[in-house]
């Protein structure tokens, strides 16, 4: 897996510089400490901030802008940002309505955001995204991982904040989106961190890793590659089993690429998912297909379902203008 690099350790900041130059009308990159914020922050609304390891682009910096995040805090590749970065981002965008931190449930992210919240002089709330059904939740584990469903939570909470909802309401809506969102992924190969000399997940041709995370970390089991319909069926089984039968409530169907799978194949998976959900009498009300929460160059994809209430539909449809997601007036 050859890469476009100058110095491997500079990959994150050089990528961010290019991102900020390209979207200079919308975002600003602060290099020390490192965070990305809206060019024109609105301190009269709840500040919505997310962050985490880099390597998942466009998550999170790509979702900074009107209707979504106020700031994003990128760490090194697959490694949490530090509290001073998170604190500086909060100070740069937050006003009296307070800050909502949207955190993916990884121990590093949880601890660093926790330390930042302890240092921040202002009101904060934190929600933990844990949509991955591949890892069993139990009292013994740190709980589930936050994966592609993070985008849904950022969109819903960001829209609510943009409409002037207070901190409690934004946090409650984010929690509701989390409770209604489930994801499972599959990888057909690994990915290589720029500073590493080997891929994270080493797989033979013809194998797949079911339940893979977004860091190329192993999932539930390694099995021989199957037909796309069978793979999607297994992913949807796991998601639906955990989510519960939606009944009359329609779902958002989100097919997310991990960075190394062509759009043609993502749409092929989407087509399969539509047929399978139709057979199971699950109604699809909104769709999203593309590379939104990636794992560097990993070939693979995840399927996310969110049970959409009417208020959530309104927030999902609300205008959004970010480098990575854009619709509405």
């Amino acid at each position: 897996m050859s890469k476009f690099l100058n110095e491997p350790r500079d990959a994150v900041v050089e990528g961010l510089r290019g991102f900020a130059r390209c979207h200079a009308d919308e975002v600003v990159l602060n290099e020390r400490p490192r965070f990305v914020r809206r060019r024109n922050p609105n301190r009269n609304k709840v500040g919505v901030i997310s962050g985490g390891g880099s390597g998942h682009e466009p998550l999170h910096a790509g979702y900074v802008g009107f209707g979504m995040l106020d700031a994003a805090v990128p760490g090194e590749v697959f490694s949490s940002p530090s509290p001073d970065q998170i604190l500086a981002a909060a100070q740069a965008v937050a006003g009296s309505p307070g800050v909502l931190f949207i955190v993916k449930n990884y121990s590093g992210d949880v601890m660093n955001f926790e330390m930042a919240a302890e240092m921040f002089d202002g009101e904060t709330r934190r929600v933990l995204v844990e949509d991955d059904v591949a890892v069993e939740n139990s009292t013994y584990t740190v709980g589930r991982r936050g994966v592609a469903g993070t985008l849904v939570v950022e969109k819903i909470a960001g829209a609510a904040a943009e409409q002037g909802a207070d901190l409690e309401t934004c946090a409650r809506l984010a929690e509701e989106a989390i409770a209604r969102t489930r994801t499972m992924g599959v990888a057909l190969g690994g990915c290589r961190v720029p500073t590493a000399d080997r891929p994270n997940l080493e797989m033979a041709p013809g194998e797949m890793e079911l339940g893979v995370g977004i860091h190329g970390e192993p999932g539930r089991r390694r099995v021989p590659l199957q037909k796309a319909d069978a793979i999607v069926s297994e992913l949807l089984d796991a998601v639906l089993q955990d989510l519960g039968t939606p009944g009359d409530e329609p779902v958002l169907l989100f097919v997310n690429g991990f960075g190394g799978t062509p759009l043609m194949e993502l749409y092929l998976l989407y087509d399969a998912a539509c047929r399978i959900l139709d057979e199971r009498k699950v109604k699809i009300c909104r769709s999203l297909v593309g590379n939104y929460v990636t794992s560097l160059e990993m070939p693979g994809a995840s399927v996310t379902l969110t049970r959409m209430s009417d208020p959530m539909l309104t927030l999902w449809d609300a205008p959004v203008r970010t480098p990575g997601l854009r619709w509405g007036g």
Binding site: F78, V142, T195, H215, E217
Partner: protein
Amino acid sequence: MGRMSPPDGDIAVFLHCLQAVCGELLANEAELSALDRAIGDGDHGANLCRAAHALLEAADDLSSLPLPKALERAGMLVVTSVGGASGPLYGTMLMALGRAWPQDATAGAVADVLEQAMEAVGRRGRSTVGEKTMLDVLVPAARAFRESVASGSLGAALQAMVDAADSGLAATRPMRATKGRAAYVGERSIGHLDPGAASARLCLRAVARVLCESGSKELRS
């Protein structure tokens, strides 16, 4: 039982410990990353090397501070340079040491503070011994040091600490991880050493070696 070192020698000893720890981390980057690749995401060595570089760069500044402040500052440097999970954990440990460092740094008083610092790490990570983490080395090592220092010499206590760190690391191999990223691979984590426990052991050994040498005592390898 006397002081760990003469009062004006505290910061010099601290600086030696810091250099020894950083040297160990830099020399073992590949090994730590290899351990992490087996059950995590493979960046543990690189992450701690960022801390080592930051600490070595700041060594002059740190040595101008009183020891408690130097420990706290070193903790904050670890937190800001590492990120990830090990940053807040090792950073919390150093900051807790600095905040509670005894005015009269007898070995016994330091032992108590050391044990409290390990408890602070556990609270930050919401974790405890037996979950295949750095705590499996840190907690028994601090306990062994305290128990041994009460009845014996500083050299014997440091030896007990190092021995407990060694067996603590070995004990992580058959464990099933229930905290940290290795928890996500569940059963598959069994049979591998925990990378956080491995780096904790490296750090403790380096500190023990310096303290033994400064007390002119030999440490069994």
